[in-house]
């Protein structure tokens, strides 16, 4: 009995090391859980980047699932995820709303002209106030909304083919969005 109990400290040490290994391996650091998950997307009113006379509110996001993507021209990762966003816009029916976060509208418009525009709407959030309502702390961030306007999922970091396959697409399918529908889904819904 006493022989066995000598190994207790080693066992405790192993457990602590194991927990530490799992804890660090989770990589939870860069994915701060959103406080908005399963909560309604905040009320807002934002002007359209391409049509400043028109304002979009939360009500415009209701009725079908949507993807809200926070981006800016100063954000290199936004450029690297752009191709995947273009593909999603081309291959699916999903409404993609861009939030142009703390950016200069002229630069943003030029960026969209140069690399293509995957968004159904681009909201002008040059002062980052909508970002704060959404709990954004960097770019890119991508929110999944259901038809009732509740946040289902939030991705911090880029949307790449792997994230689309593993995280986003299954959730959209659950929400009843059909993959690869009409090829032209770029017009305003």
């Amino acid at each position: 009995m006493s022989r066995v109990s000598l190994y207790i400290p080693l066992g405790v040490f192993a457990v602590i090391m194991g927990l530490g290994y799992i804890g660090f391996d989770l990589g939870a650091r860069d994915e701060l859980p959103s406080a908005l998950i399963n909560k309604p997307f905040p009320e807002f009113s934002a002007r359209l980047l391409e049509d400043p006379d028109r304002a979009i509110t939360r009500a415009d996001l209701l009725g079908r699932p949507a993807m809200v993507n926070v981006w800016a021209t100063w954000c290199p990762t936004c450029l690297s995820e752009h191709e995947e966003l273009m593909r999603i816009a081309r291959d699916t029916d999903i409404v993609i709303v861009g939030v142009n976060y703390k950016d200069r509208p002229a630069k943003a418009l030029q960026w969209l002209a140069q690399y293509g525009n995957p968004y159904d709407w681009v909201l002008d959030d040059r002062d980052g106030l909508l970002g704060i309502e959404m709990g954004v702390y960097g770019a890119p961030e991508t929110f999944l909304l259901n038809a009732a306007g509740e946040v289902v999922y939030k991705r911090v970091g880029d949307v790449n083919p792997r994230i689309w396959r593993d995280e986003l697409e299954p959730r959209f399918r659950q929400l009843g969005v059909t993959q690869s529908a009409t090829p032209e889904s770029q017009n305003s819904p």
């Binding site: 006493s2 207790i8 650091r29 701060l32 859980p33 406080a35 704060i132 959404m134 702390y137």
Partner: protein, 163 residues
């Protein structure tokens, strides 16, 4: 001739100003307007209290990250313009950025183990310590019951005669 003492004087001046620059560097140089000192003090205390969402371990007051600047601006607006109480500001930020921004995590289903594991480990340590001491006392005498009894009687006899 005259340059030398001047230089000396200026270096002394610089030295005297050094603490001031350190103080400036430590606190952010935002130019916010407040109605009174109470409001200003509340703002200062609040930005000291919240953790910057982008940083590992820096509060809003100490961070240069853009999001920290924005949140300081927001805290100022909530305090000075919207007239929120401290608790309302806390709730506002927590609703948007979650428990992460609070340095003092609440006790809930996601955080209970952070609070309980150290207490549990402490209790475990006490238990192990108790067991170790207890078994040491019994084992190291190396005597069986009979011998133990004899030892007791010898000690008793000794102390009787000794007195």
């Amino acid at each position: 001739m005259i340059r030398y003492p001047l230089r000396k004087l200026s270096s002394w001046l610089l030295l005297a100003l050094l603490p001031a620059t350190v103080a400036l560097g430590a606190s952010q140089i935002d130019t916010f307007q407040f109605a009174d000192d109470v409001e200003k003090r509340r703002y200062r205390a609040l930005i000291e209290e919240f953790r910057c969402p982008k940083c590992l371990n820096t509060n809003l007051a100490g961070s240069d990250a853009p999001i920290a600047q924005d949140l300081r601006k927001t805290v100022h607006r909530l305090v000075a313009v919207e007239g929120m109480s401290d608790q309302e500001v806390r709730d506002y930020l927590q609703a948007r950025y979650g428990d992460f921004v609070l340095y003092d995590p609440p006790f809930n289903t996601r955080t209970w183990y952070i609070w309980l594991v150290p207490i549990g480990l402490g209790l475990l340590a006490l238990f192990v310590l108790y067991r170790l001491q207890h078994s040491a006392r019994v084992e190291h005498s190396g005597l069986d019951d009979e011998q133990q009894k004899r030892l007791q009687s010898i000690v008793a006899a000794k102390t009787d005669t000794g007195n």
